[in-house]
Amino acid sequence: MLNKHIDKPVSVLLMSIAVLCGLILLLVLSFLVKEAWPAINDGAWRSFLVDDAWYPLEGLFGISPMILASLAMTVGAILLALPLGVSSAIFLVFYAPAPVGSVYRLMLNLLAGIPSVIYGLWGLTKLVPLIVQWQAPGVSLLAAILVLTLMILPTVALTSAAALTAVPQELIAGAAALGLTRKSQILLVLIPAAKTGIISGVLLAVARALGETMAVLMVAGNVVQNPTSLFAPVRALTANIALEMAYATGTHRAGLFASGLLLTLLVLLLAWLASRLRSQAQRG
């Protein structure tokens, strides 16, 4: 055990493994670019924006309807999950009696771990029939929004709860000393103090919703069209990749890789923003 010469080779070995793992990101990005190259070089990427339809076999690569569909789903899900998630967090931190709170937290953790394909299955067999009774065809933007809301709710609630718990005790004591009611303490003091933490959690949820494939693929109906109505079937960018990879070849395949690359860049941008906000919150 006194042999310290072993540290040098071990250190070198561990560092090479670390470098190897760090290179995975580079490998992923370079393979995406390599495979997408035929669809993006020499200005070919412009067809993604200007073509007015997605008929890859005929050389038409307009992906804007799918980008809009992905964005519409994500925005809709956030609009629902943000108020519900933040009020769940307020409930968890300030209102729930201790035993109720720990059961509630356990349930949120359990739901955060349920596979997305199961949410998709549930959405398709329970939610879609309900929507059909209201307005056909059921598989729709609305179904996708509702399923995504369920999926990101635990994330929003748990990160908001963490942010609220991290607010310094003096702030709460100060607010109480000023004679503010509990409601005013929460709305005027605690939420503003926890704002950056909550927003960074929301950004993570946005990234998850944008990148989600299975649940959206199963309930959204997958018709390539602009999301003009809540009840219209739409196709998300991720779902498109999953649907067409099986038979895509040539520039069609390249087009799918290009949309994957676009998706990755979007999600990385969001993750970067979230981490900047988080470090800002830690400093402030």
């Binding site: 995975i24 771990g113 394909v117 299955l121 409601k183 299975m214 999600v267």
Partner: protein, 277 residues
């Protein structure tokens, strides 16, 4: 009065969330259990999965997971140890590695599917196989596993490191005999996150490990995972819903069981080590 309204609103939204979540869970449990039987676990699927069971699919799922864990556990622990104990805390180089790992965490699973298909299946010539799928999942779970283990190792009280140093232990021995056992809870958490993510994964597997629902003869065969099976049954097979729900129930149970095993296994391995010292 307004105060009471706010309290009511908070309770109402908490109840709404709980009700929706219980709705999903109860559906999966009730519909899943009603179709579940011993033969469902033990038989081969027939009639595109409408009848028969899921035996080959369970085996494929476990094999894919095994490949993923076999690769990611040793690599992940190595990187975590390097980041926490073999490099300066403020080293620029280590921070770049951390940054790329954090970026990898955010990459959507369908993109891992594209990458795995292009790299493992085609470029390395592994084809649609359990190995391709497992390696793709390994890339996916490595970042989270590393960062969780690293934070656990960094959280070990520094007195332990100083004590080991004073006793003349090499740094490698300190890590092996003291720090890893002490960081066991974080390693378990990392494992649970990884297992959960890998077992639940669908999008990354469709184009790497494939669709074939026969019993795999080796890890070079294509194998269908449980999650892919649920997707296929509910989307492509009319009348497959009952089997899909039963598979969903099995999938959730499997994740919970594997988490328990991970907990027990790590505790046992590391407890033995602490005593041996």
């Amino acid at each position: 009065m307004k105060e009471r309204g706010f309290t009511l609103l908070i309770w109402a939204s908490a109840l709404l969330v709980a009700a929706m979540l219980l709705w999903v869970l109860s559906d999966v449990f009730i519909k899943g259990l009603s179709h579940l039987s011993w033969s469902f676990l033990m038989d081969e699927p027939s009639d595109s999965g409408r009848s028969g069971g899921i035996a080959p699919i369970l085996i494929s799922t476990l094999l894919i997971l095994l490949v993923a864990l076999f690769v990611s556990i040793p690599l992940g622990l190595a990187v975590a140890v390097w980041l926490s104990d073999f490099t300066e805390q403020r080293s620029e180089f280590a921070n770049i590695i951390r940054l790329t790992l954090d970026a990898l965490t955010g990459v959507p699973s369908i993109v891992y599917g594209l990458f795995g298909n292009a790299f493992f299946s085609i470029f390395l010539g592994l084809g649609f196989s359990i190995v391709s799928g497992g390696l793709t999942l390994a890339c996916m779970i490595l970042p989270v596993f590393i960062r969780t283990c690293e934070s656990g190792l960094s959280a070990v009280n520094n007195d332990w490191r100083k004590g080991a140093l004073a006793l003349g232990l090499s740094r490698s021995a300190t890590v092996w005999h003291i720090l890893l056992p002490a960081a066991a809870p974080a390693i378990v958490t990392g494992l649970i996150l990884g297992i959960g993510r890998a077992t639940a994964e669908t999008a990354a597997l469709i184009f790497t490990s494939g669709y074939v629902d026969r019993m795999p003869e080796s890890v070079m065969d294509s194998g269908r995972s449980l999650a892919v099976h649920i997707y296929d049954l509910s989307m492509n097979v009319t009348g497959g819903d009952d089997a899909a729900y039963a598979s969903a129930f099995v999938l959730i149970t499997l994740i919970i069981l594997l988490n328990t095993f991970a907990q027990a296994g790590v505790n046992r391995w590391l407890k033995g080590r602490l005593v041996a010292l």
